[in-house]
Symmetry: C2
């Protein structure tokens, strides 16, 4: 019940969230380098390939402890192993996928997962037409078996690619089935216990962010340092509001509320910044 746990034993290292995200990217670049037979890489080279600055890259890596050799660079294989381990990828995550529509099938067949240590162990859907079919070597099972199957298969990660209506139910089943984390492609905000990590990818949000940024870019190719962007030449206009019909009428339906996430526990995890939403 203690509030925090910053130092269970002696000296610890903490990896900032933003760094974790980038580590995953470095890992991909390192794989490519390894495939090309490259043995040593400098921070400068690696950074360029990953699309970041070299200082940031070095800072990121420093959270894992000493990695490279001064005056030389990083041993590609060694660094790869270290990041793998830091991200917990060497644990061999077993993944179940709910929803085998177009998106689900794309995910099931995505080679990038297997290549990074994720094994797809179960596919689930509620559509009888899809149940029983085989996709990428796995037979689609009915979503009702999800809870039991998660335990049998020892799944640690659940991916949700179902229509929005099914999302809550599926999420609950994944939680009951004991998965540690959920990747959802629905815009719905999930409501899960604190110990389950949720990451949400909302395609429409991605597009909307793009839309905003493009609105700003139209004017000048040179201008505007991107981290924050100018908007609205005339931003004012205090809202006269309450023009005529509202005020007390039809407020939030008292009886049912907004019907969206009447979250008893105020959505703990829900991935941080970026494409995803923060708690």
């Amino acid at each position: 019940m203690t509030e925090e746990r910053p130092s269970p034993s002696g000296v610890e290292r903490v990896i900032p969230q933003a760094t974790v995200t980038r580590l995953a990217t470095y890992l991909r670049v390192l794989s490519i380098l390894a495939d090309e037979g490259v043995l040593i890489v400098s921070s400068e080279e690696l950074a360029t390939a990953a699309g970041v600055g070299s200082a940031k890259l070095r800072k990121d890596l420093s959270f894992l402890g000493p990695n490279g050799v001064r005056g030389v660079g990083y041993d590609v294989a060694r660094l790869r192993a270290k990041i793998d381990s830091a991200l917990g990828l060497d644990r061999g995550h077993r993944v179940v996928l709910a929803g085998v529509g177009n998106l689900g099938q794309a995910l099931a067949g995505y080679g990038g997962f297997a290549r990074r240590g994720f094994t797809m162990v179960g596919l689930f859907d509620s559509d009888p037409a899809r149940v029983g079919t085989e996709i990428d070597g796995l037979t689609v099972r009915h979503v009702d078996e999800l809870v039991v199957a998660c335990r049998e298969l020892e799944a640690t990660i659940g991916v949700i690619a179902t229509p929005d209506e099914a999302v809550h139910g599926v999420a609950q089943q994944l939680v009951d089935g004991g998965v540690e984390c959920i990747l959802s492609f629905s815009p719905m905000v999930l409501d899960v216990p604190d110990h389950v990590e949720v990451r949400r990818v909302d395609l429409a949000v991605e597009m909307q962010v793009l839309s905003f940024n493009s609105s700003r870019n139209v004017s000048g190719p040179a201008g505007i340092a991107d981290p924050a962007i100018v908007v609205a030449p005339r931003p004012v206009s205090p809202p006269p509001l309450t023009s005529s019909p509202l005020t007390s009428t039809a407020r939030l339906g008292r009886s049912h509320g907004p019907r969206i996430a009447g979250n008893p526990n105020p959505v703990n995890s829900s991935t941080r910044n970026g494409s995803v939403i923060a708690p």
Copy 2:
């Protein structure tokens, strides 16, 4: 040529990147509320539904100028319109999609786009078997027509859902076709001019971040404030490295380099934090 352009006219407002991302989320919640006939919503209610704290929500909205009525709340329709406009969604973006595999088809058929003001205007693929087929009311055209078609169709956004090998070529064509921004589902780092905004969604990265976070969650449900997370009980082990075979041998192939993004311009845009990568 001037370095910055913070104040073209009088008083301006700047919207932080992180806020932009959340605005898109608020917008979705507002749509649902509107559908339910809700007219007024408080910051507390809206925040809960969106999975954020109410203070953050109010701060976010404050960048758009005054929106609500004190003691009352926000007019759902009005707020929606304001965010729509701030994000540039009222411009009616026209979207072209390259790569009509499973993922591409999922995107083409995704109702969430149309619902938020994006119109899919063109589908492209290089596979002769797919060219000519009709998906969701659009005929798939050959990717070689992309440059011309982008101009004809007046596309502002390009989505890339092709295999990695095709990504660079397609990106170049989109740029030549004059799109303002690109949403890519490939892990490849794109190399585009500064005025083109790139947003990258890397599914494997999402999973890897989850993996990391779950590694930490296993121990205690109570512990660890999430923003940064403890790692490695024994983080030390300075690398003996240079054990035997490497050092000067087979360094980065001088002739060809890492062959990945030998970026002349150091990748300007590339979306910020989160699922995506930072410049």
